[in-house]
């Protein structure tokens, strides 16, 4: 314990701050943290960021390719796009769009667009950016459009909301179930432990795809998007809690044998105090790490389910549903931009994985 200032700071730093310092060294995890935050920000402000109504269809703009924004023109900085002119290729009968330099569309910030509720309760028509005075055909289509002429960029942005929130909701339910049942299992042991462990094994042995198919068939067609959403969330978490329960139980059993927990017991501390003061703080970091590793699995589950047509159904918009459109090889040959819907999935999953690894290493540098 030399008296230098840095040492002093280190000596008086709690576990949380030490964890943060260790986490900061993990460059990839820090970058991932920013990506995750970015995506959740997008999810919160999805409609504000969208440029076109994600549900609006128009046959006149079917399969439009991505449209580049020109930032400068002869007058300097002046963001604009050129309107697209559709021509039918007489050999293939496909619509081919070419930019029409005569129609210069001004891109501006905070333009008026379709109506939506910010945060779900503030009605507004303002969007971050868009084309001034846009019409169904004259707009900005950053990532192109799909068969029905819906703007892919706007749809992706709005899909973020469902795809990410379904993960969060499932993880929350899994967490509650996992901590509760894992905790009971680890705390009481004996017959309770055996029963819970057997249940976990049974659940983990159920083949998921047939289960999904069965469940999908069982969900009534009359259900609204919201109802299906909650049903899917619940199903994903009913499977997902087992992993968390195992982590919690394992930590519980390990901590019970820790010398410092025995020390508290010998000091005369009650069960409650031992739990809250000694055991819980020692594994919150593990839980956070486990959660950040469980999240991508949940997101993937939703995406795969919806992709297979077993999860959410249109008109709901999720990454899985967007990818459903990219199932057909012929469509992909003509409109490869539809595959861009896979990019955010890959990005978010990787980011969560790196973040989880980073958190785990930072929380427990020894194991």
């Amino acid at each position: 314990m030399s008296g230098s200032l840095a040492d002093e700071r280190l000596a008086e730093a709690g576990q949380l701050r030490l964890t943060w310092w260790r986490f900061k060294r993990h460059k990839l995890a820090v970058i991932s943290l920013f990506i995750v935050i970015l995506f959740y920000t997008i999810a919160i402000f999805a409609d504000f960021l969208a440029t076109a109504d994600p549900h609006a269809t128009d046959a006149r703009r079917s399969y439009m390719p991505p449209q580049g924004i020109h930032l400068f023109d002869e007058n300097g900085f002046n963001p604009h796009v050129y309107g697209l002119k559709g021509q039918r290729d007489m050999k293939t009968f496909k619509m081919v769009y070419v930019p029409d330099p005569s129609r210069k569309l001004q891109v501006e910030f905070f333009v008026k667009g379709y109506e939506y509720d910010l945060f779900g309760f503030i009605p507004t028509t303002r969007h971050l950016f868009g084309v001034v005075g846009g019409t169904p055909v004259d707009g900005v289509f950053l990532l192109g459009t799909d068969q029905l002429g819906r703007d892919l960029y706007s749809r992706l942005v709005v899909a973020t909301r469902i795809s990410l929130s379904i993960g969060l909701a499932s993880v929350t339910i899994s967490l509650i179930l996992g901590v509760l049942l894992g905790g009971l299992s680890g705390l009481y042991g004996g017959i309770i432990d055996t029963i819970i462990q057997r249940v976990i094994e049974v659940i983990r042995s159920i083949p998921t795809i047939p289960l999904w198919m069965g469940v999908a068939a069982a969900l009534p067609n009359t259900w609204t998007v919201i109802q299906v959403y909650f049903a899917i969330t619940l199903i994903i978490s009913l499977i997902g809690w087992t992993e968390l329960a195992r982590v919690v139980r394992g930590r519980f059993l390990a901590l019970r044998e820790e010398d410092f927990v025995i020390a508290a017991e010998l000091a005369g501390a009650g069960q409650m105090r031992i739990m809250l003061r000694h055991m819980l703080p020692s594994f919150t970091s593990h839980i956070i790490a486990a959660v950040s590793l469980a999240l991508p699995a949940m997101i993937i589950s939703e995406t795969s389910l919806s992709f297979l047509g077993l999860g959410l159904r249109p008109p709901a918009i999720s990454w899985g549903i967007l990818l459903q459109d990219a199932q057909n090889v012929q469509v992909l040959a003509g409109a490869p931009w539809l595959l861009l819907a896979a990019v955010p999935v890959v990005l978010v999953i990787l980011a969560f994985n790196f973040l989880g690894d980073g958190l785990r290493d930072a929380a427990d540098p020894y194991g």
Partner: protein
Amino acid sequence: MNVLEIDRLTKHYPIHAGFLRKEVARVRAAEDVSFSITRGETLALVGESGCGKTTVARCILRALKPTSGAIRFAPEDDGRMVDLAPLSKRALRPLRRNIQLIFQDPYASLNPRMMVGDIISEPMLVNGVPSAERQKRLMELLDLVGLPAVARSRFPHAFSGGQRQRIGIARALALNPRLVVADEPVSALDVSVQAQIINLLLDLQDQLKLSMLFVAHDLGVVRHVSDRVAVMYVGRLVEVAPTQELYTTPKHPYTQALLAAVPKADPALRDTAAAPIGEVADPANPPPGCAFNPRCPFAVDRCRSELPVLRDVGGGHMAACHRADELNLEGVTGHT
């Protein structure tokens, strides 16, 4: 006056096997262990790994429930003894403050998420000592174990192994216990730091008139700290004697072997000792008679059939050996 009396303490661990978890065997971790500790005395409990010394210590702390036997403890100086063995967790709680533990591992025994001040004060907090008194006592304790006052607002990771062990000692002393169980308190430390902690324990004991059960395997350390020594082998006490006597005139061949096996820090004493043959017996399946008989150079037929009992072989020197009176065993000799 005795602070602790252990009477025929026995702890068996059943071994279960098969689908119905039937008991197939028992590990006799501690068998018929009896000894006592007087006020201000240090009794060392020594033996090799698996001999049952830790089991006995954990039974006294009632971290384990003994299979049979009594653990009589005097919570006050009025001569009243309470048997801890049959008590429930709830009934034990008010007595716990009188028996405290010093751990072996200075790293695992301190909660890394608590400040040192909170760690040391915890026993006082949970036993309802008022805040102002806690603060005062905390400063006393830090001073007592030789830590600076600033230590209380720091976390354990800022301290070296030796300093952490001081923190653990301060916590153990917080409630003025009558008995301290020290479980290998210096075996994880470097030699130079080990010496500091041994001295600290000696000083504290003189100052506070503590009774101590010192569980250890290092016979050099034991010689420095203890008044009496109890030697265990395969779950049983084989010899109990005042320290000096045990080292110079051991009465059990196992004690002699143990003393001879310690490498002496003196190149002149080389090759004087023959290593004992064979291995420690399995406590689930000890040999009949004396458990040491397969390794004992002095074993006779009687040793292979009849279990020797711990008996007084003169002047409070106890040994469990049929031939204790006739054998002339050699202890450590030399000078320093």
